[in-house]
Symmetry: D2
Subunit: 293 residues, 4 copies
Amino acid sequence: ALQHIFKEIFKAGLEIQKDDQKEKLLVSRSMKSEDTVVSFGSAYIGGGSMQLIAGPCAVESYEQTAAAAREVKKHGLSFLRGGAYKPRTSPYDFQGLGLEGLKILRKAADDYALKAVSEVVSVYDLETAAEYLDIIQIGARNMQNFDLLKEAGKMNKPILLKRGLSATIEEFIYSAEYIMSQGNKEIILCERGIRTYERATRNTLDITAVPILKKETHLPVLVDVTHSTGRKDLLLPAAKAAMAIGADGVMAEIHPDPATALSDSAQQMDFSEFDDFILELQASGLLRMKETV
Amino acid sequence: ALQHIFKEIFKAGLEIQKDDQKEKLLVSRSMKSEDTVVSFGSAYIGGGSMQLIAGPCAVESYEQTAAAAREVKKHGLSFLRGGAYKPRTSPYDFQGLGLEGLKILRKAADDYALKAVSEVVSVYDLETAAEYLDIIQIGARNMQNFDLLKEAGKMNKPILLKRGLSATIEEFIYSAEYIMSQGNKEIILCERGIRTYERATRNTLDITAVPILKKETHLPVLVDVTHSTGRKDLLLPAAKAAMAIGADGVMAEIHPDPATALSDSAQQMDFSEFDDFILELQASGLLRMKETV
Amino acid sequence: ALQHIFKEIFKAGLEIQKDDQKEKLLVSRSMKSEDTVVSFGSAYIGGGSMQLIAGPCAVESYEQTAAAAREVKKHGLSFLRGGAYKPRTSPYDFQGLGLEGLKILRKAADDYALKAVSEVVSVYDLETAAEYLDIIQIGARNMQNFDLLKEAGKMNKPILLKRGLSATIEEFIYSAEYIMSQGNKEIILCERGIRTYERATRNTLDITAVPILKKETHLPVLVDVTHSTGRKDLLLPAAKAAMAIGADGVMAEIHPDPATALSDSAQQMDFSEFDDFILELQASGLLRMKETV
Amino acid sequence: ALQHIFKEIFKAGLEIQKDDQKEKLLVSRSMKSEDTVVSFGSAYIGGGSMQLIAGPCAVESYEQTAAAAREVKKHGLSFLRGGAYKPRTSPYDFQGLGLEGLKILRKAADDYALKAVSEVVSVYDLETAAEYLDIIQIGARNMQNFDLLKEAGKMNKPILLKRGLSATIEEFIYSAEYIMSQGNKEIILCERGIRTYERATRNTLDITAVPILKKETHLPVLVDVTHSTGRKDLLLPAAKAAMAIGADGVMAEIHPDPATALSDSAQQMDFSEFDDFILELQASGLLRMKETV
């Protein structure tokens, strides 16, 4: 029994070391108590405001992207998202327009004075993407693509890091640390639902991850309501919950004509639905958009 | 290929039948469009107000329970919870005071003009429990104890049904139907977190289950913030999310001296913490308590 | 930091206490090193032989059950299963023939000199069921129906306890302890798949639960290949894995005409398929049936 | 209702299309009925033999790696594994020796006439790694790093692809297709446990994934018993189950002195444990090693 006690004390010692290591992470709240605010000229993410990042799942054409940009602008929002490099389960599914998509997104964002957000899936594309984007997204499937994380950490461009499909919150934090350990301090976290047994939703939105991430790190935390729920009828309730629990923003997908979309057609809002979405959020009193472009 | 098509059409037919069956459930919104409101004299659950149900994990003594009742009453709340029959993983853990616990809970509730809520785990105890309780709770572990559900369905007493640890929302709805099919129409649903791989929280609060249950059924839906998170620091954020997303109420555990509690000592709030919890909810503007006792 | 160290040592102390408690469970291997063998006259479960328990999902008629019994007997097997009380997700699905089903099962078992196994879902039915059955099964949904476990613990009849859909192995062991703590020492455990995100199978067969249960307890451990996989094409591979990893037996469902079965029609083997199943197991050299009736 | 029927038929049509697409994958059994056998001179993987791939978690030094190689050779095995690029949760954990590790592994393998297997985590390292390795491994965290998959598909070197921590079997198959669609036909799949709620094992070994993968694809399928269980006491039982269910091989980690290992110290076998492991597998009759180097 005495041997057992020593073993447990040894294990306790290891735990303490591990906790100490966690407290010394650059992303840790204990290393920097004030909120990280990622600033984009007039707009910013983090620090008490609420941002909505909207746009199509995939950039398909200038017309489609510009229409979304106009819609985003109409509501006084600042950020336009749109996929150019699409990570798809099957190699035969539409993989995005690539560089051409980045150029379209940039032009649409510029034409409506918006900031552009898009995902990069390859280290080869980081440099080029940085020329066209205001925020580089690293998606759920690449959350532990440490090579991509490290290279993103060397960029001088904000990184939006999504939680992996079955990543623990601890692993998520360490992945952010991979980026920051290379020098890039502008990191935005995004909870986007985790994989569970439940099939009523595409994923299960782990809503309490938001306050945990806000407590353990000093980074802004967004909630992607589209990919977490996969259901249009849940976007508004999920956004309300995200805002009430303290998220710094919400991501959602919109498309001028979802039925014809090349990906995620069932879960993108059309513009009329998005108008209602914004209206209801404003009516709820939860939307605290302070910044102007 | 043609054979394959017929097979798929046959499968589609089965799906349609299944959907039809679901739409004809007594608990289904399509069978009764208006919200079910469970009324307790002056207090009620459902129909647009927000109820807080609080009390100790387990009834340990009259003093402890009365102290909690006084605290509940102080904040103008109407419902006191307290466990008398405790379902515990180990047969050697404290199993609750049983009938004695019910009597104590009843007395404390009466002394402070509150409604009493407690869990029943055995069909043998239903009748007796009904004499002492205003709401009979069926816990997560018994969500598919169909025998208990059927017997509860014959009672003339509101039933608070908690979602099983790994129950799908569909299974949860069918379990409510087991109760209602026996005649009891006063059913309150409660999301209490589901079991996933994530270890930062005791369970994963499936927050979007709330709007799904509100859409598919006409029943009131509560959120148990204590058992879903298992962390005191997440009770307030989780309660805010629950209120924002449209829950009809929140359940939380409080104890005059959590450190000495016979169960769940780490996750019960003391009264000072509960005062802050209530204050912050009121300050958030999310708490819409309309009823008075 | 010192305070932290004391806290960790305190936690280590709690862990040790918990481990000590586990080692003192009646079902624990550390309390009884030799295997529990549950004996039924000439046949037995545990102790190095391999048993196959087969029969229809639900008892539907004497003809159907007797046909299955004949098939079971043909292969020299000793145990016939058949559901009389069926736990079903929907209250409107076929709930089994009840007492009538038990009587049919008993008669079919007697007519072919087999032992009868069936599930009981209500404490009210335990006494009656014990008159008709050789083994009383407690199903996955009732693994933490502690009331039923305690009553089963007072019976003088072997109990086959299935693992809950999302029960940890530790919880499973404690549920067995609920039974044994009441005096009943004849308990057989059954791994039947756990609920995960994977949809290729009905559940995920947790095959390494078998050696863990064999190591931590002295009880026999079976594997239910039908409910864990839900796919006929996986019954044989799953049975081979179960036998290779040290299970004491395998449960599988067979039906004279699966297409017309009142439940689980897609996953029951017809007799020709069962003949192949047995043949292939014998050819693999993994089937070690030593006993004869 | 009629509208509903048409909708369902439309959905059925989509399902058929999707199934058709799956049947036309290059990795699909329906496109190539005979087993793919990946051949390495005298040794091969697939086609009915049973291979054991063993070696240290990480290459730490020539002495350590050569000791493992000698041990592997002693048992007549053909494949030596050893990590040079280690994907680690924390950026501050040992990340492997990199190129130096590859060189050591190659030399140790050559000195004992073994084939060398190691993981690559970056597209930048593929070319160099191909010079030193006989099999390039793509790990669980990179299973949907489509960039890496595509580049691996252009290599003239066998790829060992591990299943992602929470990947469905369908996603796993599509990831293999990403590789094969680029021309590389020599792909070996490896089940390594999935992430579930259960904590008794590091991951949950999804043993029935093996026959499903063998049925749906023509590729060899291995089981990594070390990472799926994370427990030394389960390596042998898991290996037996893998062999019985039809796996083409088993991967396991060994180290001359596990206690001093720079990673995974708790789950690597020392050589005496590995001797027993081999002996018991041979005694079980399940080990069918036909080839010799």
